[in-house]
Symmetry: C3
């Protein structure tokens, strides 16, 4: 599903014509970058147009990471030069709002980190299920002097209320499965040993239902719950603007010095590490 | 309160002029049908116009069933030929939106199944309390290739967030008291032995308050929380449209072959049984 | 920060230029009255205009009381004669909406009663943390035949859903930390021994972040979550109207006869006592 010059980072498997799995497989960290965008776009387009698919499950093949932050090694122009998507939004928010509206039920099964784009994809999906022991959700961006760009300021307050949304976004810390469940950030946190069977049973169940009833019911929920594209649009611009500011450049540089984008403590405990960026360096 | 040709399915008891109880008593299953509509309409009209009533509790006299799905034995015309209600909506959604706006506090005390209409009535009420052991909430409709018709696509996302609302509606499965509480589908799930005393104490308390303060406060909450009638309206039409489609007719016919509308496993475990309808028949 | 004729009821401490604490210190009950308004206004104005502050924590120095109800000994005119604030709203709702929009992160640390204005200030803040054992939240007003005036009918349904909001407002009872957390009335309830360290760590963390990223992110959340001023405005008028009615006057008089505005059982168990006001007096 990708052209020959790209590494395939997203694997689409059809368990049946009605039940698809989309697996993030970009080791070691499942970082999301400009080269991931067209691959995800292919998946979303297929979900929009296939006549048989009723349910899709997003999961990860990479230990410890569901899907994590944007690629900060890639040149910014690789993201910004991409033309807007069919909605007129930039490619990433475009795909996420299209996923929310797609005539298919999207489930995410979160084991490991869903940070930044990973959390944003989860929030744009229809239902979120998390490993109680192994899921970590986070919008880490403010900790690096960035503004999140993929919709969480529009989606999180509608989902979990303003107070908890502000804690997630402005605390910028790692959120474990049990708190994510308490807050409604995920539908449920399940014991890790039960997560796969639960999600598979729910997806199999939904795949056995009538597509028209699914689509009509989801459409009516969408009318009563989705932010408009106009409410989503400012976030990407704010993200790009924040990325150009010296405060973000300095914090990201420090993160790189400490191991950003490499397997290790900075990536696995990103919430902890962004909490050190504004502290005098002797305190590390 | 009903004309002589109808069996009384809804019993109104005035514990005091300020505190009413409305008990569903249509054994063996508390199925809601076209003949129930005028009875409920009388209750809602009385709640709208009585000058003394401050609080009403809806409960059930039927073991195992709070109030369950629509009557699929009755001819569809018995429902569709009824004229719209005062709001211009069809009779069922009309009564539910009028209940939400009525100048009285409505509590539901859920023991047994609140499926389909039972869940929709609960969602249109002001507060929901459930037996932790014995309450089962569900919007089962999508499992039978139907679209729910009484407002849950408008009400559930506002109450519990889009993700959990989609799980309830598209999973179409039975939701137990503890999950209903976690999701906010009910205000609280209480141990079955404590439910009646809790609800009665709260209703008695509210009945001791000043009606004007109750009405003015509820009105301001309504302005900030209720969907508009225009957001409710499409659901009934979508329900009627879905009911006419072959997929729904086939699934409902299969449900009847397996015991629908009779006391037994299909009615008590409806979530399980709709999960079998789309599966090749050898698997039952 | 207050003029010489006033007792200082609100103490502002700058832990650092970026991290402020605002402590309610008006023993014995932390009652909020017309003389508190200009003091709180000074704090809110400082939060709006200071260029360095990033986070503020509201807490209490009074044992048993975070911040409680309005002062009913003060003449009503002392409140109503105050000119509207910069938003055009009356002074109390004006300050609360300005706090919600201020370019700073506001946390409340609730130990003891947050009743009436105390709850309303908490709801207007960005995040709420409560002592599991010692926090009591309540909107008690309806129990005294009053309509709350400081925004909870607009803010609570958006935060915790219509059903739980109606329970808080129309039940008018004391809500303990664990239920407040379950309902989302607070972000989290923490063991009392852990509350201060948790809130201080979160505030210290946020104070280490970049102010621009905080402000831009909060602004986008605000656009997706705050009620408009027009939705807030009717509450104060409804409160003033209710205060003038005989039902409220009689209930408040009875509360005073039983110990209102004095240390003792009426103030510490206000939820219980408003539940007695409409009951024949022999039952006390």
């Amino acid at each position: 599903m990708t052209d020959a010059t790209m590494t395939k980072q997203i694997v689409l498997t059809r368990r049946s014509p009605a039940y698809w799995r989309v697996t993030f497989d970009h080791p070691p960290l499942n970082i999301f970058g400009p080269e991931t965008l067209p691959q995800l776009n292919e998946v979303v387009t297929a979900l929009e147009t296939d006549e048989e698919v009723k349910v899709v499950v997003f999961d990860s093949a990479v230990d410890g990471f569901f899907l994590t932050h944007y690629n900060f090694v890639a040149k910014l122009e690789e993201s910004t030069r991409l033309p807007p998507g069919p909605t007129g939004l930039q490619q990433l928010p475009d795909m996420l709002v299209r996923l929310s509206r797609a005539p298919v039920v999207s489930l995410v099964s979160i084991r490991g980190r869903a940070t930044g784009v990973g959390s944003e994809l989860a929030l744009a999906s229809d239902m979120r299920f998390a490993s109680r022991e192994k899921a970590i959700l986070s919008q880490w961006e403010v900790g690096a002097a960035l503004v999140p760009g993929g919709g969480p300021m529009a989606r999180l307050p509608r989902l979990i209320g303003r107070g908890r949304a502000l804690e997630v976004l402005l605390g910028a810390d790692d959120i474990r499965g049990d708190v994510a469940e308490l807050y409604g950030y995920v539908n449920r946190a399940l014991p890790d040993a039960e997560l796969d069977a639960f999600v598979d049973a729910l997806a199999t169940r939904i795949a056995s239902f009538d597509k028209q009833a699914i689509v009509d019911t989801k459409h009516l929920v969408n009318l009563n719950s989705l932010p408009s594209d106009a409410e989503i649009a400012p976030e990407w611009d704010a993200f790009i603007a924040s990325l150009g500011r010296p405060a973000a450049q300095a914090r990201i540089r420090t993160l790189f010095e400490r191991g950003f984008h490499e397997p290790g403590d900075v990536e696995t405990r990103l919430g902890y590490h962004v909490g050190l960026l504004g502290v005098p360096s002797t305190s590390k």
